[in-house]
Amino acid sequence: MLKKSLSLTLVLVLLAVALPGGVSARDEVTIRYFNFSSDPDHIEDLAEMVALFEEANPDINVEVSSAPYADYFTLLQADFVGGDPPDVFELNYENFVSYAANDVLLDLTPYLAEDTPYYPRALEAFQYGGIQGALPETFSTVLLFYNKDLFDEAGVDYPTADWTWDDAMAAGEAITVLGDDTWGLYSPIQFWEFYKKAGQNGCQFFNDDMTESTINEPECVEALEMMVSFMDGDVMPDELELAGLPNEELFAQGDLGMLVTGIWMFALFADAPFEWDIELEPGLANKGHHFFANGIAVAADTDHPAEAAAWAQFLTASREAATIRVDTGWELPALDQPEYFEAYLAMDNPSNRAAVFQALESPITPPVIERQNEMQDIVNDLLSAVAIGELDPQTALDIAKDELDALIQ
């Protein structure tokens, strides 16, 4: 009997020790923030933002955890399945809709200060089903990178902001003839490039009310035909001619005249042994540029919505966070505040950094549906078939239409 009551006491004591020590006088709140964009290069920069935020909000603690992009969404999903999601977390634009459609995101509209300087287009991108499901954190885009030395050697004029793909093709032809292993142009044949080129030709993958796919409309077919024509015209190497060499590497080696790729490649080309610059991407019927964005979302069932929203807003819209992002060469904040970017614009190599912001004037956001990855795989698979000549563009896109129609039902 004594033994029993002793052990009972022991258990009670242990419980008392293990339980949180009551609410402290200051009512401090801890919010958990999960992200991929700081991992691995910007962990310290993020810590600096946290420090600044906690300084301004002494009652809020931010507990950061990070994972590399490749693992991030698996981990995030596991947190949701386990019923213990982080309070605040990063979402890229393509994954945003799946989360928003499953009602797991907090509507941030009530917490949003009126004068937040987001690019309106970026803010709209993270609205879904009538709620502001996330705040735009950063953006990125894709431009035309060109090797000035090869242009000089071929005696053709540098690209300009109002080039069309015909101009690019002509310049590419002149550069290709410079040598056996020299190529004029590279623009990958995949989902991301295709929806953009289709957009440049005024074609979208789906109709406005998302009831049907329009991917096999003549304008889309024409855009795809043009993409393949770079390869058929021998201005662009095919997979076999590259034989495993990444296209960025081909450009970095100085063997490629023009490359369509993202502004995140600046660092890779910084030490290139030739002169290079960037320009707006050539267009078809109109101009069009990728608008890639990361957003910050708050879990719908967080215990501290106001504090979580405050952190989300600080991360995305504060001058402090913006300055850290620009200064450390992290991604660019999606803010319509030219003065935040002066240092960035003044940097060299590439010197035409204004193009990065000009691209924002003709944004094309990716088609986004709930079954996003399936759509991408279907389109990529069919584009592969076109690239190796197994299917012609029209047939491939007819098949794509049927399969995408099935996906959105």
Binding site: N102, L240, N373, E390
Partner: protein
């Protein structure tokens, strides 16, 4: 009284089994049963599972991508199984000779087996590279214009088969080697006295007495072959993937990229059913050709 003691005994058995039994139940049996239940649900991990009855099975029946993947898996097995068995047997015969330094060669044949597929894939990607690779260089020397291998959907699966056979020879060869060393010398001696020559010895003594090993190797290779994944995921270039997608790749895609857990579970159970059926047929047929020593 006896009943109570029996109960007590089993209680202790359970206590001692608990550490590993619990792990098995929680991490193996539980998920397996749960996945069986999931075949009747639509579950995207974020919302609660939706009961859909047999809809997953109906969809699978009409899913061209899945059946294409199934066809690729069967093509893989068709070429892989005979090649790996024959080559492993030949290797085992060579390794069974009383040569100086044979231990080294035995160890060397096993190196590919213990190597990671990630490393092996990288190596074979270089060998198969149509422009810089060793294989097409060698073929060119003897006047053959090699295929584009991993760059071409028509030849990529064959490249994967070649790499897989190379990697697994050592594993099967070890089984054959054990089988060979179990054959009693008396059979050979008796046959030689009767005037049998080496080919007859092989045909009438070695092969029949190895059939239990062959049977075992066949079942193991079939089960592993149906589950081919890493090499098909890692080796082919992007445009060639059309020709190499396999069943487990579809399962991984549906479960972890498309968030369709129920559908992926359905695929898994169909694959399990096929492997189970094939193995049952194997077991039923073994009487006809497997000879166990008396």
């Amino acid at each position: 009284m006896a009943g109570q003691r029996g109960l007590q005994k089993w209680g202790w058995v359970l206590v001692f089994l608990a550490p590993s039994l619990l792990g098995l139940l929680v991490f193996m049996v539980g998920p397996i049963l749960y996945s069986l239940r999931l075949t009747l649900y639509d579950w995207n991990l974020l919302s609660d599972p939706d009961y859909v009855g047999t809809a997953n099975f109906v969809e699978l029946y009409h899913d061209d991508t899945f059946w294409t993947a199934f066809e690729h898996t069967l093509t893989f097995l068709l070429f892989y199984i005979p090649s790996v068995l024959v080559l492993a047997l030949l290797t085992a015969l060579l390794l069974n000779r009383p040569l100086r330094g044979i231990a080294f060669f035995r160890a060397a044949t096993f190196v590919p087996v213990v190597s990671s597929w990630v490393v092996v894939s990288l190596m074979w990607r270089w060998i198969f590279n149509p422009r810089y690779g060793l294989l097409n260089f060698g073929l060119a020397k003897i006047g053959i214009d090699g295929p584009a291998w991993l760059f071409d959907p028509d030849s990529a699966l064959h490249a994967i088969i070649i790499a897989s056979v190379w990697k697994d020879i050592g594993f099967i060869a070890v089984m054959y080697l054990a089988g060979l060393q179990n054959i009693s010398h008396t059979y050979y001696e008796a046959a030689r006295i009767d005037g049998a020559h080496p080919i007859q010895l092989f045909r009438h003594i070695t092969l029949p007495l190895l059939t239990p090993t062959t049977f075992f190797a066949l079942i193991i290779s079939l089960i592993n072959g149906f589950q081919i994944f890493e090499q098909a995921w890692l080796m082919p270039e992007r445009f060639a993937r059309r020709g190499t997608t396999v069943v487990v790749e579809q399962i991984v895609n549906n479960a972890f990229r498309y968030n369709r857990m129920g559908y992926a579970a359905t695929m898994s159970w169909v694959l399990f059913g096929v492997i189970f059926a094939v193995t049952l047929v194997q077991l039923a047929l073994q009487k006809r050709w497997v000879q166990y020593e008396q």
